[in-house]
Symmetry: C2
Subunit: 273 residues, 2 copies
Amino acid sequence: MQAMHKHISGFSNPTVKYLRSLRDKKHRKRAGQFLVEGLRLLEDARESGRVPQMLVMAEGNERAAAGHEVLAGLVRSVEAGGGEVITTTPDILSKITGKDNAQSVAGVFDEWDTGLARLDRGAAPIWLAAQALRDPGNLGTMLRTADAVGAGGLILIDDCADPFSAEAVRASMGAVFTVQVAQARWDEFVPWLRGGEGQLVAASLREAVPYRGAGYQAPCFILVGNESQGLPESYEAECDLRVTMPMRGRADSLNAAVAGAVLAYEVLAALDG
Amino acid sequence: MQAMHKHISGFSNPTVKYLRSLRDKKHRKRAGQFLVEGLRLLEDARESGRVPQMLVMAEGNERAAAGHEVLAGLVRSVEAGGGEVITTTPDILSKITGKDNAQSVAGVFDEWDTGLARLDRGAAPIWLAAQALRDPGNLGTMLRTADAVGAGGLILIDDCADPFSAEAVRASMGAVFTVQVAQARWDEFVPWLRGGEGQLVAASLREAVPYRGAGYQAPCFILVGNESQGLPESYEAECDLRVTMPMRGRADSLNAAVAGAVLAYEVLAALDG
């Protein structure tokens, strides 16, 4: 089996340059591909029906593949899907991922369509939405929360971090593969939302009701704002329900991903009850 | 006023080397000091009664100080407290903070005592605790949540990230200055906890009750575990109450800081009700 795999031993190999370039958002968008590091995430992807177009393994790991059921299964899936399996040195894999201690395997996936039109709002009672969320860790955490509460998906509004960045994928703990992600400008999102059923809810300090026991209705779209600016006032005004959460300390806000999660669990309890 | 300030123009100045070294945990612990970047955090500190031992401003900013009320007030506080005010070039300040776009001001604070003995468990109905929490962003987020729910403090158990790291301080949005932080090994924490009133609660999959409506009692200590391992089984067994949160997706866990926040808001509602 080993002999079938292409081997890369040079740092200046064009494939190495290409894979490195995928760390940069601009290059990801141009290529329509992204890089996922680590066997666990790759296995999460496979369980969700996503198989990489290219799999890159550090040497030694390839030899281990014969005895490593999960890795061997991944290699077979990639080959069965017409993808390419490449072996290289641990140093080159580190160069590709930009980490001193690189994961011993990485995969390249085609990005998928993130248009609003793909969403079926009737598919779930809860949806998460984030406006101008800049931190990829927060984005990944929200994907993970969306998975946990059984949300239909995460809608990224205006200029958010890239859900296909390595940091967002990692923070999502694989939820990027199972939770639907959509991307839209506010002026696309609002007409889409108002084209069907849907309650838009945001945490707010203006004309808001307590978040416990508020009148949540499915499908409920929970909207959080930018990490430092919050939501623009006109966006809050568009919401059907503005809720406040207790703030007993010095500050008047929570981390965006935390606020979204506390609200999402409240909505989950309300709609279940 | 400007003439009174020491000016540093050389990259190899020993003070520059010292300040740079504070980015490293080992050096922070040896020095007992940490570095805080940005006017907003420094102002948060001052409002909480913490004034830096040393303030470092980029040139230009110092000239602006005369017209900048907040910065000027900060300079006066440092001088009144016997601290040192230093001006330097933007490039050197960037070198100190390790950021291309450095904040234009940074301060050096003495670390403070984080022993358990300082905590007064009767001071608040809710306390947060984290075991082996490795991500400084999660740590800072938990400090911010602790502030929001009016928790007495955050107790860091076993080997956690450093609450005085730049990333934790930044993620805390200043809560590191207002929320009490304690650090302890598990075998110090448990005797301390059992030496008084206190209910230890953790999210768990073992012998647990639903987190909504569980019998929370003040002072309630909410314990979250390591990001990838969760809590050791023996630690869960020590808890007075094990609760489960709905997991409707593929995964069986939330981000640690998110889980802590959802529980903390539930406890807050329960104890208020």
